[in-house]
Amino acid sequence: MPVESTDCELLRRVAGGDETAFALLLKRHQDKIYALIYRYVHDAAAAEDLCQDTFFKVWKYARTFRGQAAVRTWLYRLAVNTCLNYREKQRIRPRTLPLTADIQSDGGQADDELRAAGREELLQQALSRLPERQRMAVLLASFSGHSYEEIAQIMDVSLGAVESLLFRARQNLAAQLRRPEKK
């Protein structure tokens, strides 16, 4: 039974133009990268385009990988930079979505699916109102399950900055989701 290649081996082969290795690396990471990007942009088409951009960069810059960080960290760094550049270009304004109270007031008669959809929508609304770097930090920590050290490497900031970004992101999220309860 063949031993499964590590990400690092695969990336080295990708740098040599090995398409099979690239396909394996893609298969291994595409869903998680896509999910992170989707959470970030909340738009399926844009998320797919950005995911494609990310893996295109993987192919293009594979030979520049020096092995100072894990391949996974490097991949996420490419994805994060692609997302941040996209936001910088688009300057997308957060959409105005219904308040929690509206959804909760309907929730008495709504079924579980609708309630779940409402919660998902609320979460996206709250996320979209966060500053870009706070949003990315909280997604990397809570959604992708990265450690603080990995987030620091991915976002090119210090550990203290990661702690601060996460705390402020959580404060902001809590403030946004608490607001309707004051009505």
Binding site: A15, G16, G17, E19, F22, A23, L26, Q30, D31, Y34, A35, Y38, R39, A44, A47, E48, C51, Q52, F55, F56, W59, K60, R63, R119, E120, L123, V138, L139, A141, S142, F143, G145, Y148, E163, L166, F167, R170, Q171, L173, A174, L177, R178
Partner: protein
């Protein structure tokens, strides 16, 4: 919000990610047992974290890999050098090629370029010489500067 509550919420954020040292974790627990607002904040964060961890509703289209492959092929056909076996050698080959091209252009310039011309008399000097009328100095005394200069111009010696 009290300063202590702010600090405790910061600790709660670290605790959520498993980054809070045990002594602080105990202090946080004590604070949460006394402070309902911070306890509510922490519970809300736990709910949010659970919600954030849920899978996203969408997924990549089946054509994703195909489109990516087409994009890579399109780029490769434009910029690749298939006769070079190692991609790491390609930038080096590109730089060497550019340098050789530059050197060839310099050599061609020396070989086929026009020879350097000797300095020529400009139009202004010619006009000056044409309009120089030495007769103007004829009435000057023989030892004047003008007469000496005119004599010099005509090839005489002072």
């Amino acid at each position: 919000m009290k300063t202590n509550c702010r600090k405790m919420r910061k600790w709660a954020s670290l605790d959520l990610d498993g980054r809070l040292p045990p002594p602080r974790s105990r202090a946080l627990g004590q604070h949460l047992s006394r402070c309902p607002a911070c306890r509510a904040w922490q519970e809300q964060q736990e709910e949010l974290a659970a919600l954030l961890a849920t899978p996203v509703p969408g997924q990549l289209s089946p054509l994703f890999a195909l489109h990516l492959s087409q994009r890579i092929t399109a780029r490769r056909s434009r910029w690749s050098f298939p006769w070079l076996p190692l991609p790491t050698l390609r930038p080096l080959a590109l730089r060497t090629g550019t340098l050789l091209l530059f050197l060839a252009a310099v050599a061609a310039g020396f070989r086929f370029g026009a020879p350097p011309r000797p300095p020529t008399v400009g139009n202004g000097t010619l006009a000056f010489n044409r309009t120089l009328n030495l007769e103007l100095f004829a009435d000057l005394p023989a030892d004047s500067f003008g007469a000496v200069y005119a004599d010099l111009l005509q090839g005489g010696r002072p």
